[in-house]
């Protein structure tokens, strides 16, 4: 399987040029697949800095690409500094504990966790964990539900209006309800997960459930009559039928749904984190907005670029997974 090669169209020509093979045409291919997108990005950056220069806000000039790069470096530096502080904190504890146990052998050493504020990188990971939890939970519900609905015309007709009504509901509408329900239901003295995490995850789940349900159901319902006939003639049992015929036949549609769901999940997550105060990228943007320092806009722009890049990467990842799992390679392009 050549996942890397098909996604990186310029790689092979580069190798060819290096070998001195067909240099003229290969250079053309490289220019098309690598040069033109780079030109596009460059033009965008130039337009952005020109425009940024002309927008004045209460917090100063709108950040241009240079300012954003500086802020990005700053955020990484903060992260590294925080890590060094954490390491130092644990070292100090260990030394102290060692001294104490030397003096008093009955002393039981305890290590207190470091509670510095989450850095930008930490927040990215929180967001990723939250979005994946919501997405996986949604998939676990949506795929079986889609299969069951798709198998029965009556169930399909019964569920369709409900799905169509819930599908367009914004996460901002779900969040208050989810927050209240979570507060009421999820009570424990020592919660394994913070409430804000549960709230964000459930909101993500509720919003990204539908594309997978719909696409799975449509995929299952449109399995060719011929394949069903084969299954009937063989008298396959209900579960064998699902395992051997229904699931493989609908895999391409399931993945179409999963990819839509994941992109929705990622968009919803940012909004959910802002409101639920889950310590991820959404909260970062919100805090910077509340903060209103001269760096804030630049930092928010860093977050926007990060969000975009991660969303893109998640979609590519799903595509790779689809290529790996699905028998229908032609449906796994784009």
């Amino acid at each position: 399987m050549n996942i890397s090669l098909s996604n990186v169209a310029w790689l092979e020509p580069v190798v060819n040029v290096a070998k001195g093979k067909n240099v003229g045409t290969n250079l053309q291919i490289i220019f098309k697949s690598l040069g033109i997108p780079l030109v596009g990005i460059l033009v965008f950056l130039v337009l952005w800095s020109i425009a940024a220069d002309r927008i004045d806000t209460s917090l100063g000039k709108f950040p241009g690409p240079g300012e954003v790069a500086t802020q990005a470096k700053g955020l990484i530096k903060e992260h590294n500094a925080e890590r060094i502080k954490a390491v130092a904190f644990y070292e100090r504890q260990e030394i102290r504990n060692a001294e104490r146990s030397a003096a008093d052998p009955t002393y039981e050493a305890t290590i207190r966790p470091y509670t510095g504020k989450p850095t930008y990188i930490d927040q990215i990971f929180t967001s990723l964990i939250t979005v994946m939890s919501g997405f996986i939970l949604a998939s676990i519900i949506a795929i079986p539900l889609g299969i069951v609905i798709g198998l029965s015309e009556n169930l399909y007709s019964a569920f369709n209006p409900i799905i169509q009504v819930f599908k367009p509901v914004s996460p901002l509408a779900w969040l208050p309800i989810v927050t209240m329900v979570v507060s009421a239901v999820y009570v424990s003295d020592d919660p394994m997960f913070p409430k804000s995490f549960i709230t964000s995850m459930i909101t993500v789940m509720l919003c990204c459930l539908w594309p997978t349900v719909i696409n799975t159901a449509v995929g299952v319902a449109s399995i060719s009559r011929d394949l069903i006939n084969v299954s009937d003639v063989l008298r396959l049992s209900y579960f064998t039928h699902i395992r051997k015929i229904v699931i493989p036949a609908s895999i391409p549609m399931v993945f179409t749904g999963l990819r839509l769901s994941l992109s929705i999940a990622w968009m919803v997550l940012i909004a959910a984190e802002m409101l639920a105060q889950n310590p991820g990228l959404g909260k970062f943007v919100w805090d910077e907005f509340q903060n209103g320092s001269s760096d804030s806009m630049g930092r928010i722009m860093v977050a926007i670029v990060t969000i975009g890049l991660i969303g893109f990467a998640l979609d590519r990842l799903m595509l790779m997974l689809q290529r790996y799992v699905s028998w229908d390679k032609s449906s796994a392009t784009r």
Binding site: D226, N229, V230, D232, V233, L234, R235, P248, I251, W327
Partner: protein
């Protein structure tokens, strides 16, 4: 002699928005073990419907089908079907497609090794041994159809049902597969019902040709006994007067007695 398969007074109504549509009425047919029957008739007359009723995929509204003394009312592997468009599972290799059927039919009766040998035997029978680990999208139309036949044969059906098995193939491939089918049928003494549009195919392969009238309410028009000696050779038969007489009779039924009236 007791027939293996008996259709008695079979009729079917399809529900449509304009009331029931009577596709078949009063279809009677007795088929002996080892017989090769062709169903021929104009497009849309109800050939597939007859086959689907025998397969158990459709339920007759009237009358019924009895196979070896038992009434047919659901599909089953003892009535294996070769569908018009091969119907292989695209995500499985030729071997795996046959394996799915063999595992279902011989579960607990054959060991793993026996199953493997049986699958390979059936694929070799249709000359697909060299490509058994290829997937349907990697093999030609004729090869797919052969795998479909291998799958059906591997179930050791009492009746083999073929719905225009060679319809979509070029003449050369078709001739080749017809010869294979004749050989296999002779070796296994299978009972076969085959739908065809092709008069030569019907005469060459069949013991009896069942000619159907035009629908609606289609039924068996005439039955032609083809008493040509086997093994039959298409080249020798080409200028055999008896062969041409049979051919002429089928053509006359189709194009004179049951001339297709163009509706609309």
């Amino acid at each position: 002699m007791n027939p293996l398969l008996e259709l008695s007074d079979v009729g079917i109504d399809f529900p449509t928005p304009n009331g029931p549509f009577c596709a078949l009425q009063g279809v009677n047919l007795k088929i002996a073990k080892g017989e090769f029957i062709s169903l021929i008739g104009h497009s849309g007359c109800g050939k597939s419907t007859v086959l689907n009723i025998v397969a158990g995929l459709y339920k007759a509204t009237n009358g019924g089908v009895v196979l070896a003394g038992k009434e047919v009312n659901e599909p089953g592997p003892e009535r294996a079907v070769v569908f018009q468009n091969h119907s292989l599972l695209p995500w499985l290799t030729a071997y795996q497609n046959v394996e799915l059927a063999v595992q279902k039919v011989f579960k607990g009766k054959k060991s793993k090794a026996e199953m493997k040998a049986w699958i390979e035997h059936n694929l070799n029978l249709v000359h697909m041994g060299h490509a058994m680990h290829k997937r349907p999208d990697e093999i030609s139309g004729g090869m797919k159809q052969r795998v479909g036949i291998a799958r059906a044969l591997s179930m050791e059906p009492s009746v083999l049902l073929l719905d225009e098995p060679f319809g979509a193939l070029d003449a050369l491939t078709r001739a080749h597969l017809q010869d294979s089918l004749m050989e296999i049928q002779k070796d296994l003494d299978s009972t076969v019902i085959m739908i065809t549009h092709d008069v030569d195919e019907a005469v060459l392969l069949s013991d009896r040709i069942v000619m159907m009238t035009n629908g609606p309410s289609a039924t068996v028009g005439e039955i032609l006994h083809v008493e040509l000696e086997r093994p039959r050779n298409r080249i020798q038969l080409a200028d055999d007067p008896t062969y041409n007489k049979y051919r002429q009779q089928v053509l006359s039924f189709l194009y004179e007695k049951q001339r297709k009236v163009e509706t609309a």
